[in-house]
Assembly symmetry: C2
Homo-oligomer: 395 residues x 2
């Protein structure tokens, strides 16, 4: 997907409201100039930020016109006042856009446990509204960054019955990412027409194939939010199963691209690594092994050190709590078979494997050779910079 | 416990066999000059090193006379040849000490997936036997170190019916430590007389109270081994329940001290932190929360950064998969109540909490205020040096 950020009937903006200490953009807005259907998928952490609690309820109506997002403060663990602030943030935007407050969704990302500086946000809303424009998603992408090093946007155009429609999406990721509702924030907009209930099913499927397959540090955020809005402004409606598959496939592509960007931009990450498990007794077993390997600190530091330390991979697989016969396991780095039937294949092969590990992207395949269960997870390495970033985050 | 390393009828040794590249001690031996009972607890990783497989079987007899241990190579993922090497290692010692080979236990620690340089070991065995001496446990403690920075030994003396007996223990820890069978290697010797089946129960209980409560990086080793040998050479037999409680309490103390030393010496660790969870719906729920917080990379990097980032603690607790009401949670750093009913108590309290975080040892208490379930886990911080150590381990 490599289109422009134009989506009929949608505008977006990103401005600096003074929430980030460095004066960068920290307040964003997505606005559909016409009524839109909305779907959402949220964190399963038992601790949920105020905007997540709010959006969960609002998304039940299946409609939404705007999303206002701030970075620099997660508005989480902020109690009743936090909820009042989330409502006030929505109201400031609703008033400015002449919408019912229920049509405005809210998202926040940043430090947990401090009250949102709501006055700064309210003061910045007029400028935010003034900055709304078609293709404004790139400004918004900047405004939602925290420890991300690059803004993350994707966009595409497709056709149904000879008529074009658009889909664009933006995400922020970096730390606190693990399979099972991964990115902190992702927003998808399209000018296709779709019923909200169908969108919800499609979004859930796309998230399972993308964000729920990535991991940076095994932590799960309190604020994870993926929202999908579709306003039908292209005049194209996806009514048949085939038409919906076209949209699903675009949505899948967009979210998978963003998910990969999130892992690649994981805090301190220098490598994007896919951990594939084949031959497990079942798919969930394969997933357990892939997750355990992808989240192992010892595996991830070895990846950072470009060390073909397959023993750590096997040891991590062994503690996943699923049946494994060590004498059957094969391990590949890309196409280099490093381990055959549980045994290393020696120094010459290790040299080939080390060459693979020097690449910025590669695949580790673990074949358990027991049955046909398989799974795949995207991870990154664990670097000195990860520790630096997270030890210094608030200071 | 602060006694000498003398235990009647036991000798130990540690020598350099050339397995470690730096020429340091890497081969150790414990020997009971008289018949001894033995018990063992081993890793639950599905991938188990050859010596673990061997010892599991041998320990079933409830007897053992010697343990030979090498560092520098884990003899894991080494297939049939690995098992032959473990057997050969036992045989070299058995021949030298004129024991049946079944009476010799084996342990290995170090790199996974490379064959043990068995000839180097066989060549070094005469020197190893020659170095055997009472109180030799301090040499052995050096010989089993890998990334440990200090040898870890404890010893004590106690009395039953006016007659003295001894207990001494040695461990190696550092990386790859998590609750659920934690230290890589620990050996306990005593001159008390005890039936092997009683020793097994006592050892399991002591391990649950110590090594199974510590975590360094969430990884579980393929080689974790705790062996307890008792030879009765003090002439004291623990036959009553009260007498056994005296021994149990000594064993508990020894293992808990060693477990604390292991966490304190965790790879790159600068802090020893106890995570206590109170008020959970049940003890296992409390344990899940304590484990999730104690293993969270985000929490551990914040500890390294001396950042009282309680939001990360609460977020980790929230993803433990157990019932939590965020509006009830209190969090303490030592006695400083940082969070009350899910809300931070502001900057002055944060300053007090930050002072606690600057200490080398402290307690984080999470009170869920739901019921009376409780648990406690020992962890350490996650430092830049952890990554350096583990990225460079094999190079």
């Amino acid at each position: 997907m490599n289109g422009t950020l134009f989506v009929n009937g949608f505008q977006a903006a990103g401005v600096a409201a003074g929430l980030k200490k460095n004066g960068k953009k920290d307040l964003g807005l997505i606005f559909s100039t016409v009524p839109a259907a909305a779907a959402g998928v949220f964190t399963r952490n038992r601790i949920q930020a105020a905007p997540v609690v709010l959006d969960r309820k609002r998304i039940e109506t299946g409609a939404g016109r705007a999303i206002v997002i701030n970075s620099g403060n997660a508005n989480c663990c902020t109690g009743e006042q936090g909820m009042q602030n989330a409502l006030a943030m929505a109201k400031a935007v609703a008033d400015g856009l002449d919408l019912a407050v229920e049509q405005v969704l809210v998202a926040s990302t940043g430090v947990i446990g401090e009250q949102l500086p709501i006055q700064k946000i309210q003061t910045a809303v007029p400028a935010l509204l003034g900055a709304l424009k078609p293709e404004g998603l790139s400004d918004l992408a900047e405004a939602i960054m925290t420890t991300d090093t690059v803004p993350k946007v994707v966009a595409g155009k497709s056709q149904l019955d000879g008529k074009g429609f658009h889909l664009a999406a933006v995400a922020k990721g970096a730390g606190m990412i693990r399979p099972d509702m991964a990115t902190m924030l992702c927003f998808v907009i399209s000018d296709i027409e779709l019923p909200a209930m169908v969108m919800q099913t499609m979004l859930k499927a796309a998230v399972d194939r993308s964000f729920n397959r990535i991991t940076v540090d095994g932590d799960m955020s309190t604020n994870d939010t993926v929202i999908f809005m579709a306003n039908g402004a292209s005049g194209v409606a996806a009514e048949t199963r085939e038409a919906r598959q076209v949209v699903q496939s675009m949505l899948d592509d967009a979210l998978l691209q963003l998910a990969r960007l999130c892992v690649k931009d994981g805090e301190g990450a220098t490598k994007l690594v896919e951990v594939r498990v084949n031959g497990a007794a079942s798919d969930p077993y394969a997933r357990s092994v892939a997750d355990t390997v992808a989240n192992s600190s010892l595996v991830k530091t070895a990846l950072f050190g470009q060390d073909a330390n397959w023993g750590r991979i096997l040891a991590a697989a062994g503690r996943a709590g699923v049946p494994i016969d060590p004498a059957r396991v094969d391990i590949y780095f890309d196409k280099v078979m490093m381990v055959k039937d549980g045994l290393g294949r020696g120094k010459p092969v290790e040299a080939q494997a080390t060459a693979v590990l020097k690449k910025p992207e590669f695949v580790i395949t673990i074949d358990l050779k027991m049955a046909s269960g398989s799974a795949s997870v995207l991870t990154c390495d664990f670097s000195i910079d990860y520790v630096k970033i997270n030890a210094d985050y608030r200071s």
